[in-house]
Symmetry: C2
Subunit: 434 residues, 2 copies
């Protein structure tokens, strides 16, 4: 078998066998296939795609490349929730506590933000003392006790994916649907989950800009799950404007607290409840999705989710009081208002621009090694569809340093579109797959 | 400027500016851009293509990456001929001597064979003593004296192309039309040519399998030439069966000798004469292409080309007597006949299979470092359209070793298609571009 022939056959649109995909991925992981051949193979995959069979094989190989976490001694059906990444997306911190408080077992493996998108680990670490680097034993013990624990990806899980992802990141091949699908699913299956709720984002702030691509990605992941006997449901949700009002790590924790007390933004509450309901349903805590929705709603209203999140913060070394006393969280030192140049309706708030501006002032990272400033970010004062006066406040930038602030402010101004007519309303949940 | 952004923009079908292409190619040549990023860029170019403007820029940058050969002190219009590569393609050794004997100045830069295709340098080096590694001074002196000299590509000419080609060869990106066009044209223009006749092969034995691709390549190269004020004409010619009867280095030199004495195969003679006529016409030795054809024909019939080739062999250290006494050339030690399994018409002789079989027995090289055996090869006894009896000889394999011989014989058997009906006749010259 020659690497060159396999690249060429993929380039020419042929399906590779399981043996051939193994040869490539194992060869690359073991350094017998050089970076440059894998890079051209990945770009060929970007253009020529992969069949469902190829994607399943690739997922299996990446799982087999590392350790599997054995969660079988934990009781019940283990469910996780994964988002493909967005701006202001703090649904994990709302939905997981609600579902856990309803009796779902959630061993949650989360990621960090990159580029304009945020990451759950970064948000949690905005809480002083919060530890995301639990050992597997600590992690399992906490899941057994509280039904929920948060941990980061470990290098022992699907290392082939880690190596491939680093190469994709440097070669403009991140945005390949089969490569995204196999990357997500390999990490999730390797940790021994039984079920998974996926939130596939679509819109300017997401990897997938078009709904047809988001649908294809969702279908591919649901298909991989089915072939591995996992229950998987994917929601396709709107990421054309930021989710909720807050973007930035500590600011988002504050918004999570408000939302868990039923005082959060409508879009964030709606999506978090639906994600929690899907987790409850896949975990077979309820018989129907309608029952699951009622249960999620109940756990929001009775403070069950709020209480659960406090327990988790406490268990992972943080101070649960931050949810009530926001001054205990890192706070910015300066605020700048962005106001509307004219009156009208907010017809768009480009999530990519808002996320990019937040990264510029330190809320996110451009490279994997960069540090972040948990205090800074943006709080929107309006959402798409709202009416504004000329000079009315569109949002506030919370910052700790002046550098890049003007540039960020300009990006944020560019993100808003103000029109004479009200835009059509649309639901945040666009489709359900699986 | 970030490499990643440029890869992504090319991937997304955007046109890159001259500055951006410079950044990439110069960065790669100077090792500031890693192999794996260039590999993914090349695969993106394979799929997304390049505009004429991008291809011209790329050509300019590759020329500027190395030394230019100054031929301006040589008198007259300097013309070269280049083939995109085929099986049994020895036209350079026929057309160039004929055109030189008619008064054309031909500083010919030739290549070596790779894979199933042969190379002019390898054929010349089958002549004992023939030196292709002339210094630039020796090369120019011989062109001034005889009107024709053969030399190999030197590492000083377009080194960026050399480095890129090696990477393309390992990443399945050789077959990209804009990359082929800029590679050929940069090397030709860097040596100070005024005019160029291109022989773009199409068919199973060529890089281009489809005429539409061959046409696009021809148009692209003619366009690059025009923007650089060079006169360029491209012939698109058939490479579905080997050219002439002989495939293999010494065997092809024998066929060249016969052809220069007007006793060669019809297809080889016809194409060589047309290529010679195009060189004569571009060099302005004749006023019209018709006159040029008459002159080429005359130089064939009066032995002018034959005599010129002998002078060139002598000048470059070879024994010109090899053209009359074939026993002075390397000769194979064994012969195996391949016979027809049934009677009928030869409807196809797959050139790629014949070339591949010759490479297997040592006539060509699979990797750039491999040595070759000048004595071995195949001589066809029939060409497409001819009638054969059952058991009649289709071709003979000339070999020096037994290893791979059975495998090669099987490939050769597979190359022949024998049908009940005579195939449609078609001219070897399919189109003229420019």
């Amino acid at each position: 078998m020659r690497t060159l022939d396999l690249i060429q056959r993929k380039r020419d649109g042929e399906e590779l066998s399981a043996e051939e995909i193994s040869f490539l991925v194992e060869g690359y992981t073991q350094d017998s296939i050089p970076d440059y051949q894998m890079a051209s193979f990945l770009m060929a995959v970007y253009f020529a795609g992969m069949t469902d069979r190829e994607v399943s094989t690739l997922t299996d190989i990446m799982i087999a490349s590392g350790q599997r976490v054995d969660l079988s001694d934990l009781p019940g059906i283990k469910v996780d929730k994964h988002s493909t990444g967005g701006v202001g997306d703090k649904t994990s911190l709302v939905a997981a506590p609600i579902a856990a408080s309803a009796g779902v077992t959630i061993p949650m493996i989360s990621g960090r933000g990159l580029g304009h998108t945020g990451g759950t680990l970064d948000k949690l670490e905005a809480i002083p003392g919060f530890r995301t680097n639990l050992t597997i034993e600590e992690f399992k013990a906490q899941v057994a006790k509280l039904g929920l624990a948060f941990i980061g990806q470990t290098p022992e899980i699907a290392p082939a994916d880690g190596k491939l992802y680093a190469l994709r990141d440097a070669t403009a091949t991140v945005e390949s649907i089969p490569l995204i699908a196999s990357s997500i699913m390999s990490k999730k299956v390797a940790v021994g989950l039984d079920a998974l709720v996926l939130d596939v984002k679509v819109g300017s702030g997401a990897f997938m800009k078009r709904q047809v691509d988001a649908r294809r990605l969702a279908q591919m992941m649901v298909g991989i799950g089915r072939r591995l006997d996992k229950r998987v449901t994917a929601l396709i949700t709107d990421m054309s404007q930021p989710l909720g009002y807050a973007v930035g790590n500590a600011l988002e924790v504050m918004e999570v607290s408000q939302t868990l007390q039923n005082a959060g933004p409508t879009d964030l509450t709606r999506l978090s409840l639906e994600l929690a309901a899907r987790m409850i349903f896949l975990a077979k805590v309820s018989k129907t999705i309608e029952e699951a929705r009622e249960l999620a709603q109940k756990q929001l209203l009775n403070g069950g989710g709020y209480h659960k999140f406090k327990q988790v913060i406490q268990a992972q070394g943080g101070n649960p009081q931050v949810l009530d006393r926001f001054e205990l969280l890192p706070n910015a030192t300066g605020v700048r208002e962005i106001s509307s140049p004219r009156g009208g309706y907010v017809s768009a708030i480009d999530a990519q621009y808002i996320g990019g501006a937040c990264t510029l002032i330190g809320a996110g990272r451009d490279t994997k090694e960069a540090g972040i400033d948990p205090a800074v970010g943006v709080i929107l004062e309006v959402k798409v569809g709202q009416k504004v006066e000329s000079g009315g406040v569109l949002c506030r930038i919370y910052h700790t340093r002046e550098d890049h602030l003007d540039e960020a402010a300009e990006m944020i101004e560019d993100a808003f579109r103000i029109s004479a007519n009200a835009p059509e309303e649309r639901d945040i949940i666009l489709e359900v797959v699986g």
